[in-house]
Symmetry: C2
Subunit: 314 residues, 2 copies
Amino acid sequence: MTADHGFVLALSGGIGGAKLALGLSRVLPPGTLMVVANTGDDFEHLGLQISPDLDTLLYTLGGIDNPETGWGRRDETWTFMGALEALGGETWFKLGDGDLATHVERTRRRRAGESLSAITDDFRHRLRISSRLLPMSDDPVRTRLLTDEGWLDFQDYFVRRRCAPSVRTIVFDGAGAARPQPDFVAALADADLRMVVICPSNPLISIDPILALEGVRDALRACRAPVVAVSPIIDGRAVKGPTAKMMAELGMPVDAGSVARHYRDILDHYIIDEADLAGVGGLDAATTVTRTLMENIADREALARVVLMAGQGV
Amino acid sequence: MTADHGFVLALSGGIGGAKLALGLSRVLPPGTLMVVANTGDDFEHLGLQISPDLDTLLYTLGGIDNPETGWGRRDETWTFMGALEALGGETWFKLGDGDLATHVERTRRRRAGESLSAITDDFRHRLRISSRLLPMSDDPVRTRLLTDEGWLDFQDYFVRRRCAPSVRTIVFDGAGAARPQPDFVAALADADLRMVVICPSNPLISIDPILALEGVRDALRACRAPVVAVSPIIDGRAVKGPTAKMMAELGMPVDAGSVARHYRDILDHYIIDEADLAGVGGLDAATTVTRTLMENIADREALARVVLMAGQGV
């Protein structure tokens, strides 16, 4: 990716994906990264339209993310939540005062008829993000889970119930009818596309919604640019979140190879952690072994360089 | 008002009215004050339904008002406004982080079908306010002003343009069709009603919208309980806000007598400041002269006691 033309497309969920997206944005020439975000976790709460993965990407790429939580903003205040609680409002989903501005302004503009794409593009410009950032679709897709406690909306499962219920089935309501964002579709067929990166996000709830959109999986299969995925599993565990627990509940071996097999029809190159060599025998994809844990900015940039090199070598 | 039954009804706008309402609530037995608030200033902003006078009353009666501004909450933070500005949102109307909770939760509940009255009553209970607090109506009434710059919505005139345009006409859109809040109407005919207090609010934009509701002025005229008004003019000036400027622009002499004449068909007793004795000759109403400036809690309680005594002596 030292070429002076061409661009890289990254598919991402929230926290883990955003870390690699930030690394990529820092080692690539400005304006040569396009990040497509999962919107299956989007929901309406308190009358506000919330897009958790887009927001995490906005804040991370904009350098205003909260380094302690991975979600939300840095230098955040919580006056709103305290006042809401005193008025008897719902407080299970934590909304910081600065974060609220994103939801209020996005909701206002959505109601005024603007697309999620247009609003996101304006926000990223205002936050001085040189990378493009797109929702996977401007149409609603809603991840729902059949659990041992019945059907749950994603945020009910993820935040309110803290991923405690056991997952039996995951569906992406609306994915069949939702049109992938047009610039995303065009990018997959663009001769200047150098590489598609599947970020180390949860394959089942962060990447699968993107792949479930009409034509996306086929386009990735047909894509001339290499598809490089980074394993979200390190030493048989997920760094954060319910990835490992969900994989086990759905009968997938909890190892890096299992994720690669999940992507097998689209995958050209797979990046795994040094700790997971044992679990990736028999893959068709080329494999690079490196340190994949991203604890700081240097880690993110280093992993991004490995990813870009892997894509060049396919 | 030392009787162990009966109640007092106060008509109020925002800041000045709320000060007297607080005084009344502190000197009357708990639960014997009903405050009816102007909602002509209500508007929708950023997709949120905002009721400035109700909120000022809620915060003042709840002891969480901002003593420096008179509006908004104490111990407020402003993270939301800063973040909104960075995203290109409208920032001419200042919404504190805690204040936002009121608007977000009220808007959510209004959209879910609850009335403004029911929500306000729940909020005042949660803020441990023993006085009843009612919007003048659950139907929309919107104050609009014809100025030398054309028609302006109230908040455009009041906040965005800082009352700079010269006012020619004031209308209360919807007042003809809006039903006065039923408990307000019932209170005016209640045998236990001891007194109606018109707070020292702007007569033209805070009290007139209430009086413009179908049947209210007639009910006040017919009311057996005395109607006591407190002059919002002190020494020929308004304590705060555009009262004096608007009166002058509409051709009213800027003095305490002018406000009394504005209420003359409903007024039984008028309370003026010591500085305004000259301007109240020839009134039909009984008049009490006292210190009306409310700089602290003791002032509010003292004025409230004068008001209650005046009402007893009518």
